[in-house]
């Protein structure tokens, strides 16, 4: 286990040792952790950041990673800006987090950065520089998550809440190399970043711009042993021939519901790997891992455990632990933590036998003539069909029931090559749904498509209330 008295990322990394053999690989550069001891990605200007609120606004994940390592324990606040943050939200983030320095690998500040805010360049090129690694404060880490109004929510964590419950991989006989499809500036990616660096491993970062195949080639070249992503990331990876380039020992899914089909497909593709799925959210932190290869989780996890307490109230999962975020920054209507100390995840559960299954998001429910349907529960059934690779269930306006459920489905055969098989396939998928789901949950229409929208978060893009064309 890592030391409990760790107070900065750099202290944590240093304590794990073996720095010269370990690396952090970005899309275009790779740095060894040993090189960070006497170097800087900020031109040796770390002193200028003491006590300040810093926005990390980089296009490149490696630059952000290096700046994070350098500034944790020095800056008062580090705001992690994912690559896809719309320019028009930048000012809102700067104001909400009282940012006074922007660190960027962009050439110029641009018009969205107020004149009173300093702009300091960073780059993945480490220059020799000596600066004082003394940890002065517990830096606040600010993560952005999508809000219902369109503006991001700013979620406050500390290193303690982000890095808690990370197990050491020190016992491993061969070097552990982590990778993740996530951007490390999002919760799922940041956990992997910290997990790798604080447990003695190396890390291969994904790239926002490069293709999936490029990333898999890089992951293969660095012999990635542990890799994480959302079920949507994994479905896309499994649709690509490049999936077979890697041979991980450990495959992890989080961020969306892992249905049985994706768990089974991954086990077939990576027979040597342990397949695990986890529940985690930016606000609630990591709650549990499931390693038995089955969808859902054992009901006995509900209740009090050493590090996490969970309960189900009004159908949704509630979590209390040392890993939950502290609060939202800025004027949020609703506090992050309820009066009972629990975070309401908004993820709806259903108990079947001795296992709980996630059925969908509370705010994603489709109302068919007064009856509720969670798109994810329908997708989980559609995905069981052996021909199906991925599906998106959505609402379609209807003059009789208000709304109906329809499905866009990717199957192994491209839609244009289906010809006469489309009708039979549709019939089989609908029969499968009818055998398992209540009538109102069975899609009225199935459309075979060649792609589905997956957002920068790695999650399938859901647009409730969008009328079908």
């Amino acid at each position: 286990m890592p030391q409990n008295n760790r107070t900065s990322v750099w202290n944590g990394i240093s304590a794990t040792g073996n720095l010269s053999d370990r690396f952090l690989s970005g899309a275009n550069e790779t740095v060894t952790l040993g090189g960070l001891a006497g170097g800087s990605c900020l031109g040796g200007r770390a002193e200028e950041f003491r006590g300040r609120s810093v926005l990390l606004w980089t296009t490149d994940q490696l630059s952000a990673a290096l700046a994070l390592i350098e500034l944790d324990g020095i800056a008062r606040r580090l705001v992690l800006c994912p690559a896809d943050l719309p320019f028009e939200h930048l000012r809102f983030v700067i104001d909400s987090a009282a940012v006074d320095v922007v660190v960027s690998d962009r050439i110029a500040p641009g018009p969205d950065i107020p004149s009173g805010v300093s702009f300091i360049a960073c780059s993945p090129k480490i220059v020799r520089a000596h600066y004082d690694h003394t940890v002065e404060r517990q830096t606040e880490w600010i993560l952005l998550t999508s809000g219902t109004t369109g503006l991001p929510k700013l979620v406050v964590h500390t290193l303690a809440s982000l890095a808690g419950a990370i197990e050491s991989s020190g016992a491993s006989p061969s070097p552990v190399v982590w990778s993740t499809f996530y951007d490390i500036r999002r919760y799922g990616g940041l956990r992997i970043f910290l997990r790798a660096l604080l447990s003695g491993a190396s890390l291969v970062l994904s790239s926002t711009e490069g293709s999936l195949a490029d990333f898999m080639i890089r992951a293969a070249a660095y012999r990635v042993t542990h890799i994480s992503g959302t079920p949507s990331h994994w479905r896309r990876a499994l649709m690509s021939p490049s999936a077979h380039r890697i041979a991980p020992q450990y495959v992890r899914l989080s961020g969306e519901i892992a249905d049985q089909a994706i768990l089974d497909h991954l086990q077939v593709c990576y027979p040597q790997a342990k397949i695990a799925h986890a529940f985690a959210s930016t606000e609630a932190g990591v709650a549990f891992d499931v390693t038995d290869g089955l969808a859902g989780f054992p009901a006995e996890l509900i209740g009090e455990r050493a590090d996490v307490e969970m309960k189900v109230e009004d159908g949704s999962l509630r979590i209390r632990s040392t890993l939950i975020a502290d609060r939202y920054l800025g004027g949020q209507a609703k506090p992050l933590i309820g009066a009972d100390g629990y975070v309401d995840t908004g993820d709806m559960l259903e108990l079947r036998g001795d296992r709980y299954y996630f059925v969908g998001r509370r705010d994603g429910v489709i109302n068919v003539g007064g009856l509720k349907v969670y798109p994810e529960e329908v997708e989980a059934v559609i995905n069981r069909h052996p021909q199906v690779r991925m599906s998106l269930v959505r609402t379609r306006k209807n003059p009789i029931t208000g709304a109906l459920v329809v499905a866009d489905v990717i199957v192994q055969t491209p839609p244009e090559a289906l010809n006469g098989q489309a009708g039979q396939l549709e019939h089989e998928i609908l029969e499968l749904c009818r055998g398992i789901l209540a009538r109102h949950k069975v899609p009225a229409v199935i459309r075979f498509v060649s792609s589905l929208p997956v957002g920068a978060t790695g999650k399938i893009v859901r647009q409730p209330c969008v009328m079908s064309s």
């Binding site: 009789i400 029931t401 009225a444 229409v445």
Partner: protein, 81 residues
């Protein structure tokens, strides 16, 4: 396929899928007595929109909704004009 035959085909198909017993499909059959419940009718309307490219329930100018099967067919025929 004519609009009438498309509608008859969809109604028959949905009834079969939903395990509903259909009354003989004659023009003066009231839709409420057809054997199709509102969920079945909703599915029929969605599929007809895909097949015929019209949804007269949202585009029709006249306020009166069809009561019988004959009116239902006419409703679509008018919308398609």
């Amino acid at each position: 396929m004519s609009i009438r035959s498309e509608i008859i085909a969809q109604v028959t198909q949905v009834a079969q899928e939903q395990d509903k017993h259909l009354a003989p499909l004659v023009n003066d059959l009231p839709l409420v007595d057809s054997g199709l419940d509102s969920l079945c009718m909703a599915v029929v309307v969605a599929r007809l929109e895909d097949a015929l490219g019209v949804d007269p329930f949202t585009t029709a100018e006249a306020a009166g909704f069809p009561v019988t099967l004959g009116e239902f067919i006419e409703f679509y025929e008018n919308a398609a004009k």
